[in-house]
Amino acid sequence: MITFSHAILAYDLALIVVYCLDFIVRSRRNDTVVAKAPAIAMLVCLCAGTIVVGNDRIEFALMGLLLLGAAAFGYANFLAFVKRGVTFSILSNHTRPPAERIPDAAFIAIDDRLHEMQGHGWAEPRDARWSLTSAGHRIARLRELLIRLLQIEAVG
């Protein structure tokens, strides 16, 4: 049996090691942004941890779920930024001499974004025009609300 804080410390370190290993061994070499394997591995660790922790089992389970959810979400966004990010692509483009660069606007692939919206069920083509679905309207309103609330500079 180990104490709660030692168990959380071990779980935190395991999260960092597992996600770093996943990036080095698997995710760096493919095009996907959702990595299920490390999340499943850490869920197994969480279940095992809940058994071996000596005190505050419920707090351990809640904390483990919070950390795992946050890590999985943060990692998916990190992979999206590193593999599909337009800003990172522009930066990467500018590591080359000017004559070898691609025009920066080429990184913004509107067709892919339209298909992504369709894939998420946010928009659909109707009579050769793109229309928002009810889910798309909800997402648009939610984004606008968050941007207004947090007073964010939208770069889009």
């Binding site: 760096r28 890590a71 979400f73 943060g74 990692y75 990467s92 509107i110 025009r129 798309g136 939208a154």
Partner: protein
């Protein structure tokens, strides 16, 4: 208590960095975010210690706040920078559009220039030809790009461009 201290530290760090950052794009003010994280964790650690927390509790809080901050970072970048979300907003405001009308309304050239401007203002690009700045920050960016993306830049973008070149040939 550790769960509450972790959550409060993360929320304080996020709120403080947002207030100081005035809504600017988050990757242009990473130092503020890291400083806010550090201060929030130091305060949380001192409170936990005062209420009888152990030595390991003092390591647990800063370490546990990291995934939460990473999730916030991802969410925040997505919210401000996502092209897909920007196009959803365009459709919400302008109603149904053809692909050509959407391209015209979105204006990829203007958006690419906006991103360039932000990268310049943040000190990532410098000089007349917008090269990576020859500073410590620039060197870190170069190392990061090579380590995370490889020689061709972001993998999915590079393979999409490659496919387009193949289809166009």
């Amino acid at each position: 208590m550790i769960l509450a201290a972790t959550l409060i530290s993360a929320i304080v760090a996020i709120v403080v960095s947002e207030v100081i950052g005035h809504g600017r794009v988050i990757y242009t003010r990473m130092a503020t975010l890291i400083a806010a994280y550090g201060v929030a964790c130091v305060i949380a650690d001192s409170v936990v210690k005062r209420f009888g927390g152990s030595m390991s509790d003092e390591f647990v809080i800063p370490l546990s706040v990291v995934p939460i901050m990473a999730a916030w970072l991802g969410f925040r970048i997505h919210l401000s920078n996502s092209i897909t979300l920007e196009m959803v907003t365009l459709l919400e405001h302008q109603g149904p559009q053809s692909t050509q009308d959407l391209v015209r309304a979105y204006d990829p050239q203007k958006h690419a220039e906006t991103r360039l401007r932000i990268l310049r203002e943040a000190g990532y690009l410098a000089g007349e030809d917008d090269h990576i700045a020859p500073t410590a920050k620039g060197r870190v960016v170069l190392v990061l790009i090579r380590a995370l993306c490889g020689a061709d830049g972001p993998r999915a973008v590079a393979s999409r461009l490659e496919r387009r070149r193949g289809a166009g040939a």
